[in-house]
Amino acid sequence: MVRSARNWAANDAPTYFALLLWLAANILVFHRTFTEYMYEPRYYYLHEMLGVGLCVSRASASVLNLNCGLILLPMCRTVLAVIRGSTQCVGRKARRVLDGSRKFHMLCGAAICVAAATHCLGHFYNALNFSEHYNVKYPGVNAAAHPKQDPIQVLLPTVPGLTGVAMVLLLMLIVSTSSMAIRTVNYELFWYTHHLFLILYCLMLLHPMRGILKEQLNLDEHPPGCHMLMDTGGSNDTLNVTSEPEPEPEPYHGLMSYPEPEAEPLPEGSTDEFGRIVTCKGPPVFDTHAVEVWVWLVGPFCLYCAERVYRLVRSNSPAAISGIIEHPDEVVEVQLTKEGFVAKPGQYVVINCPDVSTLEYHPFTLTMCPSSRDPTFSIHLQKMGDWTESLYERLLPDTDGTDESLPVMVHRQYPILYVDGPFGSPSENVFHYDVSLCIAGGIGITPFASVLNHLLNEGTKSSRLRRLYLVWVCKNITSFLWIAQVLCSLQRQAWNENRPDFLNIHLHLTRSRDVQILEREYPFLNSRVHVGRPQWRHIFDEVARYNPR
């Protein structure tokens, strides 16, 4: 019990704490705005007309602003990579929180959807109240042109109405392509529609312009509520909700405050119903209230844009292909060099090949990082979808047929590759623990391949790590040949450095055919191949038993 609590505190508590902070920020922002619109004298007349719908719509708007700002932060990948890389100021626990950055992005997205729905709901009722509770006394506060105006006409022909509808539609498009089912099979669609957010943000900045909600400007001249005194007999039951038909008021002229012909300045020293002295010098003046959308958005948006520009500049020069190695199971290893490219094991890059697609960037984990001795870095690429298939065929053109009969040196024309990155990933953390357990399936071995390559280059004593477990599950036995050489070399090196139990390998084969392949060349690996899926309980028990606290 105590142990599991301690484990929870070490593993999950920081994440939940971050989540709690986010939730608290949302509640705080909501509450602050809600009470502001509920009790501020500036919004007295507006609140009188719209009721709680005003508070709900404004409070959800500020939650929306907060989350629209926050949602961009996890997408600043270079910044995250820098934060993650600076081990001095970011501890192990904080880095684990960073691992959940994509989930945080999704959480903010969900919050935006909920807040947008609430905001729309609030404004539907606001439009209804604008038309139902038309303020005949002070037409300046109204958004409707006349009492009982159709709510659709109150809201839609305005800038906030139009931009609002457009934003909801954009949000619906983004959400509809973000579902798991679409994201996994139609990734391009997801990627392109997600970039509609740029239009969404522009509309968001436009949204509050020429707003329909008005605040009172001259609070000192006209204390809210003193219109009661102007009514005959001081009765306060005939405020502004009129049941009898009113004459058609003059057309409303936008932001201009409305001249009030009937409200004469009260004589000095009138008293309200509580006997307080009220000095009302004139009718209330209304103007569009200042909305600070940009305050929330400008910081994260600039950071994000700056990062995108920086990435664009950085990936501007193509990387040179220095070697191509064909591996079994339709995997090709591409060795690249690029000036000034620095990366750490576990990081990934995104690759763009203009010959295949101008706009598509695909992420690949580095399987070998550039070092001081060798500037080459490599990626392993498996033929999976149409993009990788197309690139694969460009990298390894078919050489059978006529080429085979003509042994002429043909200059190979490699496609141009642009490399953007590196970006951080959780696999960077392998070196920061005494014992690390790496679990990979199929081509998912790539982040650990770079870890193994790093250990091979720098020696097993270069980091804190003293034992590395590797569980690798593959369908075909030939897949193990991808990095078989590295695994064997590392084991030999660990043996030479007097650390024979440094590397613990469990290879699992789920579709057994031709098991003999490894037997001949890699007997070290052959003795570590298990047929069938891993028994996790056994593996975890083994790790726990041999590595007591």
Binding site: S176, T177, M180
Partner: protein, 180 residues
């Protein structure tokens, strides 16, 4: 942009729009004028959700099903061409969205549905059509993600490990229990 399956997106967009329309309809029933439109939106929203709930089968690869969709799949499959042709869905959604555009709370759903109908048109234009998941078009029921073992094991257990076993002339069928 290789093989985008437009129908899948259209389906997702239509179902989201239908939820928005249904919610808008419920709001529209609480005090807004022209309550008939709101009532219509509620009915249309529910109808579209039921129609769009079962996902169609992808051309290749595995399709992620919605929870409990198999019951509705049978109903939709029973309707034949009316539900499987995407041109019909395009026209249907286009017509269904028009009345909902005349009331404030339902207008968002109506516009969303309009976009969905356009995407359905693109899907139909690319020759896509709705295929049931889990129902064989010939009528034989089979689950989509399960391979059917057609041959019985040729050798009774105990069996020798695969690499020791003499090679048989016929290539073993995938999922054959004699392999492991």
């Amino acid at each position: 942009m290789g093989q985008i399956e437009w129908a899948m997106w259209a389906n997702e967009q239509a179902i989201i729009s239908a939820w928005v329309m249904l919610t808008g309809g419920i709001i529209g029933l609480t005090g807004f004028n022209r309550w008939e439109i709101a009532a219509y939106s509620v009915a249309a929203g529910i109808f579209i959700i039921l129609l769009e709930y079962p996902r169609g089968k992808r051309k290749k690869g595995h399709t992620i099903e919605r929870r409990y969709q198999q019951y509705l799949t049978r109903v939709i499959h029973a309707c034949g061409t009316i539900t499987s042709n995407y041109y019909i869905r395009f026209v249907l959604h286009l017509l269904l969205c028009v009345p909902a555009g005349f009331q404030l709370p339902t207008i968002l759903g109506a516009l969303g549905l309009f976009i969905a109908s356009i995407i359905y048109f693109v899907a139909a234009f690319h020759g896509e059509k709705w295929q049931p998941i889990g129902i064989d078009t010939k009528g034989a029921p089979s689950s989509s993600n399960q391979t059917v073992i057609t041959q019985p094991p040729s050798q009774p257990p105990p069996r020798a490990p695969a690499h020791v076993r003499p090679k048989r002339p016929a290539q073993p069928v995938e999922g054959d229990p004699t392999i492991l």
